[in-house]
């Protein structure tokens, strides 16, 4: 191993890759432009759609209610409801999304409210499960009838000369104790490692294929192997380039995500970003910066593992296309453990610490919430380094195999 030659190969590969449009797109353009566009674009559209849906009011029909003019009149007078005159086939209307919901008022409803015998009637709300606008309609109807019920209860109690506190012996109140950065860790802590893992992999993917199978296809691999440099130096030079691409993609993505989030928050919430340690409940989730540093440190051996593995696998292919068919399915293999790490109930244990990508996903979530399990961190870092070393040794071995390098 000679650093001078490793550096020569690395610098050449870096120059070559920076002149390649495809590498630039995957390494720089996608993380810096696509992510903000997606976050802003999709965010803006979603905010607009939801706002519009809220503002335009819920179209509903009232089934029955002829003998309850007060309730029907109240619904018609409410600003957030458009009551259609003819109920017709209301179930069909809901299915066709012409109305958001329908409410069925039972006979003698209003009269039963005034009776003091404690009788109970049932108001039925018809809706379309899973449909956003329909659920908005349901929420508004439930709120309306909830308030109506409270008023009825109060009236019944007042009729008997009893205090309201009789049916409300206590209140239930929520109070958040988690500081904002820990709220952030829990809310987006599971999501960040997942994004990092995927971007780290996709960032390494293109250069890994180009530097191996691509070179074989273009005939430059044989030219390179004719040089007196030991193959170990060549592999390490190429590996460093793939690692650079993986880390660059990851860092740029995180930066652009952070900037988009910061801009997005001030854009959507009217520049009211609370400082860390501010009021807990309802604050915008913040991430512990130290946690982010920890995530970087933990991702590093996994990035090495990805770079070496991708290099070894794509080296086996004769052409870029063949390499793509080997490497593309691996994205699913990488995503699965990352997704499993986001599931509730999957906790950090000695066993899960040994599962490559899953362990990273789990420990990053903990670190971003400010929880540092040093024994697990050491175990995961150690095992990740071991896997990375195995993958790198595998890549070197592949480079020294004639049947791989000169596969006919």
């Amino acid at each position: 191993m000679t650093w001078r030659y490793i550096l020569t190969v690395y610098l050449k590969e870096l120059k070559d890759s920076l002149r390649d449009r495809r590498t630039l797109i995957s390494m720089i353009v996608v993380p810096t432009l696509i992510i903000p566009v997606l976050m802003f674009g999709v965010g803006t559209i979603m905010t607009k759609v939801i706002k519009q849906a809220r503002e335009e009011g819920s179209s509903i029909v009232i089934v029955g209610g002829a003998d309850s003019p007060g309730v029907v009149g109240g619904l018609k007078a409410a600003k957030n409801f458009h009551v259609l005159a003819d109920p017709g086939d209301f179930k069909q209307l809901i299915s066709d999304k012409k109305i958001r919901a329908a409410v069925e008022i039972p006979p003698h409803f209003e009269a039963s409210l005034k009776e003091a015998d404690g009788s109970s009637a049932t108001v039925t709300i018809y809706h379309y499960e899973g449909e956003l606008k329909s659920s908005l309609g349901v929420n508004e109807l439930e709120k309306y009838f909830g308030e109506l019920r409270e008023k009825a209860v109060e009236a019944r109690l007042a009729g008997r000369g009893l205090p309201v506190g009789l049916v409300k012996p206590f209140e239930v109140k929520r109070q958040n104790v988690a500081p904002p950065e820990k709220v952030g860790g829990n809310v987006i802590g599971g999501f960040i490692p997942y994004i990092i893992i995927i971007l780290c992999f996709t960032g390494a993917m293109y250069p890994a294929m180009d530097l191996t199978a691509g070179e074989k296809e273009r005939g430059t691999m044989e030219t390179l192997l004719c040089s007196p440099v030991n193959r170990l130096n060549i592999v390490l030079g190429k590996f460093l380039m793939v690692l650079t691409a993986a880390i660059t993609t990851m860092v740029l993505s995180l930066l652009s995500m952070g900037l988009s989030a910061a801009l997005g928050i001030s854009f959507f919430a009217g520049s009211q970003v609370p400082a860390a340690g501010g009021s807990g409940g309802g604050a915008i989730p913040l991430i512990d910066p130290l946690g982010l540093v920890g995530v970087f440190a933990m991702v590093l051996p996994v990035a090495v593992f990805f770079a070496a593995l991708l290099l070894a696998i794509s080296l086996f292919a004769k052409s870029y296309k063949e390499a793509q068919s080997y490497v593309s399915p691996l994205i699913i293999v990488v995503i699965m453990p990352a997704v499993v790490g986001m599931l509730p109930g999957i906790e950090l244990t000695a066993k899960t610490s040994m599962v490559p990508i899953l362990s990273l996903s789990l420990v990053c979530k903990e670190m971003l919430s400010g929880v540092w399990h040093w024994n697990f961190i050491a175990l995961i870092f150690g095992s990740s380094c071991l896997y990375a070393a195995i993958a790198l040794a595998f890549a070197v071995r592949m480079f020294n195999r004639e049947d791989v390098m000169f596969r006919a």
């Binding site: 030219t223 040089s227 049947d403």
Partner: protein, 253 residues
């Protein structure tokens, strides 16, 4: 100087089993001499040359290049070899200067030495005009010149050419042939593989005919003409490999 002794290379193939690509090949090529390796497609020319350039390792037998054993000191062998083949391409996104400089550095040269040598090569090969342009936009002739400069940057004692004129236009092919002669005249050891009979006749001091991985005949053009009783190189070749039927059977395989 190249000395091959009982050089043998066997490949494993899942369908066909063991394939002997080079079978007990021995020859010697001296400085100031062009050794022509003549054979049909699949005869074992490329494998033999790759063994000499240490891209492949022999299954058995040995070879020394400039006094270094191909198995024991592959790095030293490659440092003394300039290998040019139809399959050794250029990095399209690098300029000719960057390409040649890269190989100079890989050969352990310092930047001053590379600059001096590159200037000299660019003079000889008339490359100055396109030295700072990217290789991907080059004509075939420019590509060949850059490849030649790449093989010569470290001034190797041994030149290995594997069908260097394959697929080239007449003018470029002629300039390559001229360049190969130049190498010999400067006292380099040259080995040249081809399946073009006329090139062998024009160029080679010593001819080895390879067929089915075996060296079936060897000698100067005059010696081969005398041995096979033919004047024409093509007729000599067909006779040496055992007639047209044997040649057709080999090509079918």
């Amino acid at each position: 100087m190249i000395e091959a002794r009982h050089l043998t290379k066997t490949f494993r193939d899942k369908k066909r089993g063991a394939i002997v690509a080079v079978d007990d090949v021995s020859f010697t090529c001296r400085p100031g001499q062009i050794y022509g390796l003549l054979g049909a497609n699949g005869a074992g020319k490329t494998t033999t040359l790759r063994l000499l350039a240490t891209l492949l390792q022999p299954t058995s037998g040995s070879a020394t290049v400039s006094g270094h054993d191909v198995t024991a000191e592959p790095g030293k062998v490659r440092a003394n070899v300039g290998f040019l083949a139809a399959s050794t391409a250029l990095y399209g996104r690098l300029t000719a200067r960057e390409m040649v400089t890269y190989f100079g550095r890989l050969n352990g040269m310092d930047d001053d030495a590379i600059t001096r040598r590159l200037h000299q090569l660019a003079d000889e090969l008339d490359m100055h005009e396109f030295l700072d342009r990217r290789c991907e936009k080059f004509s075939t002739g420019m590509k060949q010149k850059t490849s030649i400069a790449r093989t010569l940057i470290h001034d190797p004692a041994v030149m290995i050419f594997d069908e260097p004129t394959l697929g080239l236009d007449v003018m470029t092919a002629r300039s390559i042939v001229r360049f190969v002669r130049d190498c010999r005249d400067r006292g380099k050891t040259v080995i040249y593989s081809t399946h073009v009979m006329s090139e062998v006749e024009k160029l080679c001091d010593l001819i080895g005919i390879i067929h089915g991985g075996r060296l079936v005949a060897e000698g100067t053009l005059a010696q081969l003409q005398q041995r096979f009783g033919e004047r024409d190189m093509e007729e000599i070749f067909v006779k040496a490999v055992g007639g047209e039927a044997a040649l057709a059977a080999a090509l079918k395989n």
